[in-house]
Symmetry: C2
Subunit: 616 residues, 2 copies
Amino acid sequence: MATPIPSHQRIVPGSVNLPPYPWPATAKDTSVDPVSIAESVTSKLNGSLSSGDFASISELFIDNGFWRDHLALSWTPRTIKTSAAIADYLSSSPTKLSSVQVDLTSEFRKPQIASFAPGGSPDVKGIAFYIKWGTSLGTGRGVARLVQEDGEWKIWTMFTCLVELKGWEEKVGARRELGVEHGKQEGRKNWRERREGEQKKGEGEVLVIGLTIAARLKMLGVKTLVIDTNEKVGDNWRKRYHQLVLHDPVWYDHMPYLPFPEHWPVFTPKDKLAEWFEFYAKALELNIWTSTSLTSSKWDEGTKTWEVKVNKGGREERVLRPKHIVLCTGHSGKKFMPDIKGLSEGVFKGLAVHSADFAGAKQQQEGTERKRKAVVVGACNSAHDICQDYYEKGYDVTMVQRSSTCVVSNKAALKVLLAVLYEEGGPPVEDSDIWLHGWPSEVMKSIQIDLARIQRKMDEDLLEGLEKAGFRTDKGVDEGGLFMKYLQRGGGYYIDVGMSQLIIDRKVKVKQGEEIEELVENGLRFKDGEVLEADEIVFATGFMNMRTQARHILGDEVADRVDDVWGWDEEGEMRGIWKESGQSGFWFHGGNLALTRYFSRVTALQIKARLEGLGA
Amino acid sequence: MATPIPSHQRIVPGSVNLPPYPWPATAKDTSVDPVSIAESVTSKLNGSLSSGDFASISELFIDNGFWRDHLALSWTPRTIKTSAAIADYLSSSPTKLSSVQVDLTSEFRKPQIASFAPGGSPDVKGIAFYIKWGTSLGTGRGVARLVQEDGEWKIWTMFTCLVELKGWEEKVGARRELGVEHGKQEGRKNWRERREGEQKKGEGEVLVIGLTIAARLKMLGVKTLVIDTNEKVGDNWRKRYHQLVLHDPVWYDHMPYLPFPEHWPVFTPKDKLAEWFEFYAKALELNIWTSTSLTSSKWDEGTKTWEVKVNKGGREERVLRPKHIVLCTGHSGKKFMPDIKGLSEGVFKGLAVHSADFAGAKQQQEGTERKRKAVVVGACNSAHDICQDYYEKGYDVTMVQRSSTCVVSNKAALKVLLAVLYEEGGPPVEDSDIWLHGWPSEVMKSIQIDLARIQRKMDEDLLEGLEKAGFRTDKGVDEGGLFMKYLQRGGGYYIDVGMSQLIIDRKVKVKQGEEIEELVENGLRFKDGEVLEADEIVFATGFMNMRTQARHILGDEVADRVDDVWGWDEEGEMRGIWKESGQSGFWFHGGNLALTRYFSRVTALQIKARLEGLGA
């Protein structure tokens, strides 16, 4: 019998668990001028690029260096490791990098001496700087990190990400629309009439199920239609559990083109977020059919076109012929319910629902003879929020934690995990994203291991208190903490906003480490024989792989062709999402608001490139 | 018989026509360090302020210098002229300025050599810099301009505006709300429930009829209720004429706290603006009762409280007891219809409406035997837009211009009048507002005279073409162009977005300089005897003084007590608006989006000061 994988090491099945990257040696000379060193390295790179001397490029990198490339040199996100592989990658690219420039446009972007290991032990000093670059097809940005090897400054990590395609630059700032066509135009329609016309027509090269990528596509001039089964945009958030407030702070959550304003609360309540989405769609003039569901779909390999039937508002069947479908329904999709005896048979006489269907706890009257009992199965964000809601409304509450949870206090999440990049007065969010995604995943893991160590120190009392109360905490995959759990497993953590103290104070009970045997008439029976009485049971047991969404919406044929989603591939790029899915013309998009912000551009640019036949 | 005032010199009756300020001499030494000069003057000022030596302060100013003060030293906006008066003003202020600092936080704000006269002839060089200051009550910003007199650098204009009150700092940026209260709270409501509760309760210290000031009051922690007779927020814009698009560009139009995003069109169509207002109210969490009208009001001088009855949604009567009422219905109020014989009697058989009620021209079929005839009375923005709409829909169109119009091409408005301060990539709008409002009105007039001269040069062909086509243009009050017409008269201009060419090309006819005698069955008869046939007549004759709105909404007793609104008082501050109206607890607020942005803070701070008993 194989040893089971411990809970903290669990990752999405089939994904690659890349090890942490061993820190390079710290630079010996740190009283140098980082700008001139950056300029010198960049100039050598440009020289080799223009002469096509790719072998000499590899000499600019340390042996185990990286080039992470989001669409500068190929039409799919890549992370290339080793100097030899980098030379191969550059030489075989159909697109030629023509000029890499050191970005001197702000203090934050300028070359500077940086300490790369946040733990400080070892201290890994080097030089970091932002770059701008161009090819015949587009322009982009990136970040480079240099380390010193035998006295010589070499590239440790290089990152290039495409920002704009030539000829399809986004209409923002100096390129914004005029809003009115001056001079006479006979028979002209006003803005409302034009918008209503587009909205009604609804034709599109791309059909989006969800929302978040539609704005990026619109800015690239791609005709896009969004369909949403809900009555109103944002309802997928409105319908979530009563007390839901985002666990990520506003600085990390900005959406593209319409940043949250200065007065926006740090943590956005779900209904407020729903309102924002609703307005976002209007402000960006996205074409959306609500109360609309996909009824059938068929891919024609010959014409590379989908034939999609949708039911619009329960009244009208419409046939659409998009070239691409993007599924970005995120977590609002297929719920994961554990297969427990008695659940489907309705043996249990109380209320048993998935967290996605949980309407909120009802206020109990004080002094009632018998407190109503609530049991929440699960021990991550939703489970905690729901327990807290029950407790505050006067229930007797028990959380069922079957394995272990990575717990991070809200304070540590802000001050340790997100600080510097995403905080009040921090750098522009576009710069922060480039800094973050500019790390290859292996190095990101090393960074997160350092940060998680600092975080656990800050959260020492909390974590000890939880353990004493019988709640089991863990350190995450390879001790990488919350971020690694999120990226490699897609769950398994709680960002504490108050519930942990209720556990520590024994106000909410924990049933730990035992699997549920079956539901019985008045509660749950565990494998150890204990029966936990319950009037209400909520299964905060998460959601299934996004691939199941494809099956649900597009059928088996498509679902069988698409790759698994989430977790790393061999290069540390995320699997199946933000890139071709395995089924031509079909894409997954999603993640938290921050990942969605960055990767919506990566995905939209890939789709645009394919629509324009740019060698994809 | 008195000579009638020529049209271009007409100003709001009762307002003061301050003359342009004669340019001071240019500085002799311009290769000086502006920072050290600014620091030196500021340090002398601080010294005199702290020792209470107000006489020595007057020596820091030129004799005819200004101190414009928006709430630093008194609770009403003031412009003090002459160095002697400035010393008096400072010495008699109950609040003491404690520290004036040179603002070095950005290149734009830093002291620099500036050319004050935009025409460049004479060239008036001096030093300009932004300041920050504090008193025991609050903190603020401002701008100072120095000129050199007999070799000595002296203050020509000083401007102080209050930004924040101590103890009631706005909850933005580092002071934003958390959005969630961590830890347990028994019986807690979620965000939606709290918002719905506030909205329903609707109690407030301030009742706002309109919208734009409510956000500022909210940020100051003032409980505020907005009532709106329309069904939906923004309907006052939706209901305006079909082709309406803002004539001011996006850079000038930003609203407080929620700037228009980077992709926003330069000129906002009315329905898009309406959507923005609707969302704005939600994003700022303003409490608004729509479909609600005021039915009666009574001021109690003893308790300094209003008793206001409103009809909510046609279903419910509610009694409110606010301490203050702010009327900011702007142009959506009382229309001005000329008193023309036959109009009220219904002699004319076609359609005759005010521009506010004009639904838009109907598309005419080509090849119809007889073109429908439209006559538009008026020659300013709305009249032009409506003529253009009629023309584009296939009508035979005549514009009736009774006097003259100040015409500025859209291009010149952007490139000459608004450039530098309000343009793509320009300074932060808060800085631009301080620069602009930091000018005393007399100097502003001198600046506008220079700018208008440059503008007319740029628009030479346009203006000549119009004159040749029988359309009469003018240069505005004292040749101050569009801005002076707007500030001193509140109308009388057209920002050309295409209609002028239709006049120049004789595609839209002009009936110039003749008063209308009466409406007849088939059109209008002029005093010269000519009858102009019409199927439709639109009176784009503007709106009445805001005071008429007070009469309409609050009755004669209040209206008789309030001052006239708009145009300058003896100091060049605007009359009756953004300050006490003459009736305690009653305020006017309004203007274009840009004025509203700046003065909403000035007005809200005055109201807050009165509510808190801060010596007002």
